[in-house]
């Protein structure tokens, strides 16, 4: 007869890492354990496969749940409204929900019909000595060659230079490239105009049921029945929400010149671009959003009174930032090492940065 292992002890055995390089908080440990188990399951299932490895999520799920069902409760927190999800921990770690998932981090690639592939191994150079390890491979694939630290779903190299990572044959990439904004200097009016030109659709006709974008608020976007034009240099911009029947919500940006009897043009705003557009319109309309950096006993706190766009969330997830929303702010707890990189990312957004550290 043996005793039930504690999740943190099991995480140490799964990863081959000493406890000092593992997270402390129970909920973070559980996520880290499921993450590592998914990587191990992928490695086991695709071990002898030929061609490009793919695993169906149902098979992976069975592997992970059978591996850990005697140690952690996958249904715990599944109905917690604060977590904004009704999914079990496997789903939340794999792909869904507001917390960091392996698919969101790029450690797994989501394919059609429920299949997943391991993401390519690379290091995201968030700092000179503690880059983020992004890989679909288990942690033990790296522990012979590198010092690794687990920060929740994500993993970091410790005291490891870019040159030593590259010498070992692991590619490195910038944060901007990792969060998919390598082509963008800043999200401003220039970007909005360029974006509009790229998305312009002359076939679009406005419909009476569209809602107009009013302003960003802490946990979301506010819409109203009235149009809210934002005047820029010679142009009016307005954003609309279209609840079409039998399809998902679509968003349209309208542009019209400041002149009599102007002709309106429309461009569709893909969901992933929506928050950029909203922040720019907020800024142009005098509702500039704010991000605050504070140093507390918990660590480096980053608070935002708006929903940042996907790259910021991805970076926060990769850096191991603990998502901990309170009091009307979205809030993350980061390690101080990541302050410069985080500020650099917010600098690209049309927001005010207040540094109280």
């Amino acid at each position: 007869m043996s005793d039930q292992p504690k999740p943190r002890e099991l995480l140490a055995t799964f990863t081959g890492l000493p406890p000092a390089r593992l997270p402390e908080r129970d909920d973070v440990v559980r996520r880290a354990l499921v993450s590592e188990c998914i990587r191990l399951g992928m490695a086991d299932i695709i071990d002898e496969d030929e061609g490009w490895p793919e695993v169906h999520n149902l098979r992976l799920r069975n592997w992970v749940i059978r591996k850990l069902q005697t140690v952690i409760d996958f249904e715990r927190d599944a109905d917690d409204p604060a977590r904004e999800t009704d999914k079990d921990l496997f789903r939340r770690v794999l792909t869904e929900g507001p917390e960091p998932s392996l698919e969101f981090l790029g450690e797994l690639i989501e394919l059609d019909e429920g299949y997943y592939s391991p993401g390519p191994t690379r290091a995201v150079m968030s700092s000179q000595s503690s880059p983020v390890l992004v890989s679909g491979l288990p942690t033990r694939s790296f522990t012979d060659d590198f010092t690794i630290e687990i920060r929740g779903t994500s993993r970091h190299f410790v005291d490891t230079s870019q040159s030593s990572i590259e010498a070992a044959g692991i590619a490195t990439q910038s944060i901007e490239s990792y969060v998919d904004i390598e082509d963008t200097q800043s999200f401003d009016l220039d970007w909005l105009e360029s974006f509009f030109d790229g998305q312009f659709d002359e076939t679009v006709q406005p419909e009476h049921h569209w809602n107009g974008f009013d302003r960003s608020a802490s946990y979301g976007l506010q819409w109203s029945d009235e149009e809210q034009d934002v005047r820029t240099f010679g142009m009016f911009y307005a954003l609309f929400q279209d609840f079409g029947e039998n399809r998902g919500t679509r968003y349209w940006l309208r542009r019209k010149p400041v002149e009599e009897n102007p002709t309106s043009e429309f461009a569709e705003v893909p969901r992933r671009m929506l928050k950029y557009v909203c922040l720019i319109l907020d800024d142009l309309g005098g509702n500039t959003r704010e991000v605050i950096f504070e140093q507390t006993d918990e660590g480096l706190i980053v608070k935002a009174d708006f929903q940042p766009p996907r790259p910021v969330f991805r970076w926060m997830a990769a850096s191991g930032g603990l998502y901990d929303p309170v009091g009307g702010y979205l809030r993350w707890i980061l390690t101080p090492d990541d302050k410069a990189a985080t500020k650099q990312l917010f600098d690209k957004l049309p927001v005010t940065i207040t540094d109280n550290t």
Binding site: M1, S2, D3, Q4, P5, L10, T13, F14, L40, A43, D44, I45, D47, E48, D49, E50, W52, P53, L58, R59, N62, W63, K67, Q69, T70, V71, G106, I109, L111, D112, Y115, S117, P120, T121, R122, V134, L137, P138, R140, S141, F142, G169, I170, A171, Q173, S177, Y178, D180, D190, E193, S194, D197, G198, Q199, F233, G234, M235, E259, P262, R272
Partner: protein
């Protein structure tokens, strides 16, 4: 009165007392030995059991009439199906499923270290083995029977009625248990395999599966089962309906009927070693000293004892795991001794429920290395040359002449990636239109190829593949340089263009900005007005964003130059 732990139901299924329904009429449960009716004895004060009704044993003989007989029965139940099959020289059948293809395997026992005299090398002993068989694929190595292996497997042809393997051992006594003819019946409709896709075994009698097990049911005809959870595979002339079993689904009972399915069974899952497949009976490689940990979950609302039984049964003592409460998980573990293969079964006493666990010693456990990963890449063929782009390791950029043949380019554009890999594509068209950029999101290469072809025919100057979380792959298409016209030379005294619709040369923009005092920080609207001589109060909706970009770029260069000048 002898306390009998299980009885037979009218279908011949063994029913443990913990699963008995005390409301069943007399005669529903019968004695597995004498066939006489059994009563269920359940209550709070005494051990639950089946028992003969009073007076029944006065009229018939039954070998289960004494506690000793019951103890003997309990011991017999500790012998697993696999071992009984070996004892009968029958080859257990297993299968594995990979890429939709079923592989059928036969399983044979291996040599035990205990069968060897001290100092005898197993390699020498194995030289005495020779094998012949029918309907076997591939070669069979003597080393497969080495005592560090838990089982010897052989790939079987599909569609055979029967398989036979004749093992000759040259009369070597150490090989006695292997010697002789081994047989297996071919796969037939009604057979059921339970386990994991890497290894599922043919089971007999009532099917007992745990949630998460893979189950394969053999049918004679194509079942045309279109349920999402079901995959249908061909094996010989038959079909296998494969699916991941869970308690709430009806697939198993739809094919076999309720009476052939025992829904609730315990599960024994390998938690450690880390990379072991948790619910597979296939051998797991393990390093000496590495921890084995098995988590055992009883069926819902049951609280049985469990046993860890050595395999083969006579290889050691039984470990008892106490009852801990209904549904409470219990654990068994030990460090792997390392010198010999280890086989045990997790057994629920007085039932046929066994879960075989097999461990084979290995010196290292290899985790996959990043250099062995397949590499995402794009292969581009143009003008008789092949180029490779790699988003992760680079190169990520390629420049081709705009004269490239669009059809040839697109027809030869290939991506090494998972099937249906999706990404965004950006095309920059070389037109004077405001709307010169085309984006397509979340597309596969085949979906976007027609668009790329059209764009190239229109004179696209940039094609960019934006992969989620990875560096972009960019192909630029350069227009041929115009031949310089020797008859015209620019007149430096010509008036500079002032129309905001036109793009000014960078040097003109730079000159005008440098005339400003102080030099502006940003490409604000007033700066653009000044540079392009736009009167105040006049709006210019047609002012192209490129002009603003140009001002910003030039401003950035000026600031950089000045900063470097200051540092110098």
């Amino acid at each position: 009165m002898a306390k009998i732990p299980f009885a037979l139901d009218p279908h011949g299924n063994e029913i443990h007392i913990s699963e008995a329904d005390e409301g069943k009429p007399r005669g529903y449960y019968t004695c597995p030995d004498c066939g006489g009716p059994l009563q269920t004895r359940v209550g709070d004060t005494y051990q639950h059991c089946f028992a003969h009704y009073p007076g029944v044993l006065d009229e018939r003989d039954c070998s289960l009439g004494t506690p000793d007989a019951i103890r003997k029965l309990t011991e017999e139940k500790r012998t697993s199906d696999r071992e009984r099959t070996y004892d009968q020289h029958t080859i257990p059948l297993g299968l594995r499923v990979q890429y939709g293809i079923v592989q059928l395997i036969g399983i044979l026992p291996t040599l035990n270290w205990g069968d060897l005299d001290q100092g005898t090398s197993p390699d020498d002993i194995l030289q005495d083995i020779s094998i012949k068989g029918t309907h076997i694929e591939g070669s069979f190595q003597r080393n497969n029977f080495h005592p560090n292996e838990t089982e010897a497997t052989v790939t079987l042809e599909q569609g055979a009625q029967e398989y036979s393997i004749h093992i000759q051992t040259n009369g070597n006594p150490a090989l006695e248990k292997l010697a002789g003819k081994w047989k297996a019946e071919g796969v037939k409709p009604g057979d059921v395999f339970v386990g994991d896709q890497t290894r599922a075994h043919r089971v007999s009698g009532q099917v007992k599966a745990s949630a998460g097990d893979w189950v394969g049911i053999v049918t004679g005809d194509d079942p045309n089962d279109s349920r999402d959870e079901v995959e249908v595979y061909e094996v010989g002339d038959h079909y296998i309906v494969g699916f991941q079993y869970h308690d709430e689904q009806d697939i198993l009972t739809d094919y076999l009927g309720e009476e052939m399915v025992q829904r609730e069974r315990f599960s024994a899952d390998l938690v450690l070693p880390p990379r072991s497949t948790p619910n597979s009976e296939a051998p797991q490689g393990i390093i000496a000293g590495e921890e084995i940990l098995v988590g055992i979950t009883p069926a819902p609302e049951t609280d049985p004892e469990f046993e860890i039984v050595p395999f083969p049964r006579d290889a050691g003592d039984v470990d008892q795991l106490d009852a801990l409460g209904e549904g409470v998980v219990r654990f068994w573990g030990q460090p792997f001794p390392g010198s010999e293969a280890l086989q045990v079964t997790v057994h629920r006493p007085n039932t046929d429920e066994h879960q075989l666990l097999q461990f084979e010693p290995t010196e290292t456990v290899d985790y996959p290395h990043w250099e062995s990963e397949p590499r995402l890449s794009m292969t581009v063929k143009a003008q008789d040359q092949t180029h490779e782009l790699y988003p992760v390791m680079g190169p990520t950029e390629l420049t081709l002449p705009q004269t490239v043949d669009a059809t040839e380019f697109v027809d030869h554009l290939e991506m090494t990636s998972p099937q249906n890999y999706r990404f965004d594509v950006l095309l920059d068209l070389d037109t004077s239109s405001d709307h010169s950029t085309v984006r397509r999101q979340n597309v596969t290469l085949s979906e976007v190829q027609p668009l790329i072809k059209d764009a190239l025919k229109e004179g696209a100057k940039l094609l960019q593949f934006k992969l989620d979380g990875l560096p972009n792959m960019t192909i630029s298409f350069e227009a041929p340089s115009p031949d310089p016209d020797p008859t015209t030379t620019p007149d430096p005294d010509d008036p500079e263009p002032v129309s905001p619709d036109e793009k000014l040369p960078d040097e003109v923009v730079k000159e005008r900005i440098e005339e400003m005092e102080p030099i502006p920080d940003k490409a604000q609207w007033w700066v653009i007005r000044e540079v392009f001589n736009i009167p105040t109060g006049m709006s210019h909706p047609s002012l192209h964003y490129r002009a603003k970009k140009q001002v910003r770029k030039v401003l950035s260069e000026i600031h950089k130059d000045r900063q470097e000048g200051n540092e110098a």
